[in-house]
Amino acid sequence: MRAYELIKETFCRKIYILIIHLSWLSLYGGFWWLFLPMGNEFGQFIFIWGGFFLALALSAGIFGDDISSGRICVLVTKPFWPGELYIYRLLGLSLQAAVHFILAWCVIFILHTFIRQGSMNGLVLWLFASWLLFNTCAALSTSLSVVVGRAYNALLLLIVIITGFVVVGTMMAYLKQHSETEALLVSYFRFVCPPFEMLYKFAGGEYGKYSLTVGRFSLAKSVACVVHSLILTVVYSIVGIVLLSRRQFSSRRD
């Protein structure tokens, strides 16, 4: 009952959540209809919109709204471990995303059936990679929401990630002559930050060039990518759970 209500709440808490899902699905359909993309192009589009922007939109204020309104004060006086609140809410987001990506596949399948152009090759893998990226970004955003009021968690994460990409891109260009430092930085960003590059290459099949392959994909590296992104999701979640358990709350509203 508790799990069900907390999972349901992630979908029912705001009317805009349904609007976001519908808008995103329309966006996928519109992109397909207008550009008739081939497999990877559409996959990349869905990877960014579904894996990253959707995670930010759905997790905006997931705890921050409760903290700002003072609602959290009643929730944390209930007799259960606060980690449950976090876990079931993140699970709620993850389930929403899973259903969202299944619906996205259905939309594209219907359009593909009618238009009979474009390619759906590799789409399932892109959707799976998008779901993994979604989970990681949602965990990061949810953890941030425990300490940042209202819906600023999503905005803050968006700014930090965009700034991060610009700064890292500039640094990499500068560090071309210092290959050791570049390698160190690349591995740091790859293993600690949200796995954009890793999952992008995983879905695109680029890792298949380097080791044993299943079709065009590297089985070992693909499994490693999936496991690594799941570990990151867990690590970001643990940080959020610890913050939620240690945080003090005020019944005063913003």
Binding site: M1, R2, P79, F249, S250
Partner: protein, 319 residues
């Protein structure tokens, strides 16, 4: 005044705090320096008691309530609720908390909110349904039970928040300004519900500025002033102290000077004396002494000090 930590009550104490101190540190809170919100508070609350938590703004009432609810950590000292440390799952099992400004998911109806909180409490569907029906009847929620919370008035929110706090039949009920926004009928209903809970053994702590309302519920108060319980270790009990007005034919000033100690005299004129009384049992002796001393008394009226008088007296003494 009555001794606060009553040994007889220790057996049934559901809230106990010892040397409780709370300091808000300046870091990350926007404050320029640390603020001591509560200082060395030691007290206990027993089953079946209603305690009024009173004091001026900034006295530490909300901090104390938040500590009992487990929303914040004490800096020093210990606090147990229902025999377990505050904020532990065991303590929260027997706790009901109603915040000053309740807030709900706007899209949920009152019934859905009750179902949601019942599920968080781990209650079965059947129990949730029974508790919801009980609350609907007790708190007059029939008219808005299926309306979305975004349409609610302050009074409706208060009633729903109280219903949520009562869902697990708590041993300890913490209420922050519970009568905010309630209409007179709602206030009477609230009073009846709280009295029934008290009779069934629930300890209730109410933080409120509505002293008149509190007085109808309880005669036990904790007066907080700048983070300290005034007269540490003692509880204020109304209905004891008061002022005695004695009407005389004449010579009020001479009689007061001759027969009364200056500390007892609250007011004096030629035809009227106002005398401080600590206990109503003192009245016959005072009147008898005045008569023996030659006062020609035409009327006597004992005005007992209510909580508002006590509040003002304590407040003025400290300013």
């Amino acid at each position: 005044m009555r001794k606060m930590i009553d040994n007889d009550n220790k057996q049934t104490a559901v809230i106990e705090c010892k040397q409780l101190t709370k300091v808000y540190k300046g870091l990350l809170t926007g404050r320029s320096k640390a603020v001591c919100a509560l200082k060395n508070i030691s007290l206990s609350v027993s089953k079946g008691q209603i305690i009024g938590l009173i004091g001026p703004n900034g006295a530490g009432k909300s901090t104390f309530l938040n500590l009992m609810a487990g929303l914040i950590f004490p800096t020093e000292g210990c606090l147990t609720v229902c025999g377990s440390p505050a904020r532990s799952v065991e303590a929260r099992c027997g706790l009901g908390y109603m915040p000053e400004h309740p807030s709900f998911l706007g899209r949920y109806s009152a019934r859905a909110v009750l179902r949601y909180h019942g599920a968080l409490l781990g209650l079965s569907r059947k129990t949730i349904s029974l508790q919801a029906d009980k609350s609907i009847e007790q708190l007059q929620m029939e008219e808005f039970i299926d309306r979305p919370c975004s349409d609610f008035s302050q009074g409706m929110k208060q009633r729903l928040a109280l219903a949520i706090a009562l869902m697990n039949d708590p041993q300890v009920l913490l209420l922050d300004e519970p009568s905010n926004g309630l209409d007179p009928v709602g206030i009477i209903r609230l009073r009846d519900v709280l009295k029934k809970l008290r009779d069934s053994g629930t300890a209730i702590v109410i933080s409120s500025h509505r002293l008149g309302e509190l007085e109808k519920l309880t005669s036990d108060y904790i007066f907080l002033y700048r983070g300290e319980v005034v007269s540490l270790g003692d509880r204020i009990v109304t209905g004891q102290a008061g002022r005695l007005r004695v009407e005389l034919v004449s010579n009020g000033n001479d009689i007061a000077e001759k027969l009364l100690s200056p500390s007892k005299i609250l007011g004096v004129s030629d035809t009227e004396l106002e005398i401080a009384v600590n206990d109503p049992e003192e009245v016959p002796d005072i009147v008898s002494n005045l008569a023996k001393g030659g006062a020609r008394i035409t009327g006597v009226l004992l005005q007992r000090e209510n909580i508002e008088d006590i509040f003002l007296r304590l407040y003025n003494e400290r300013n």
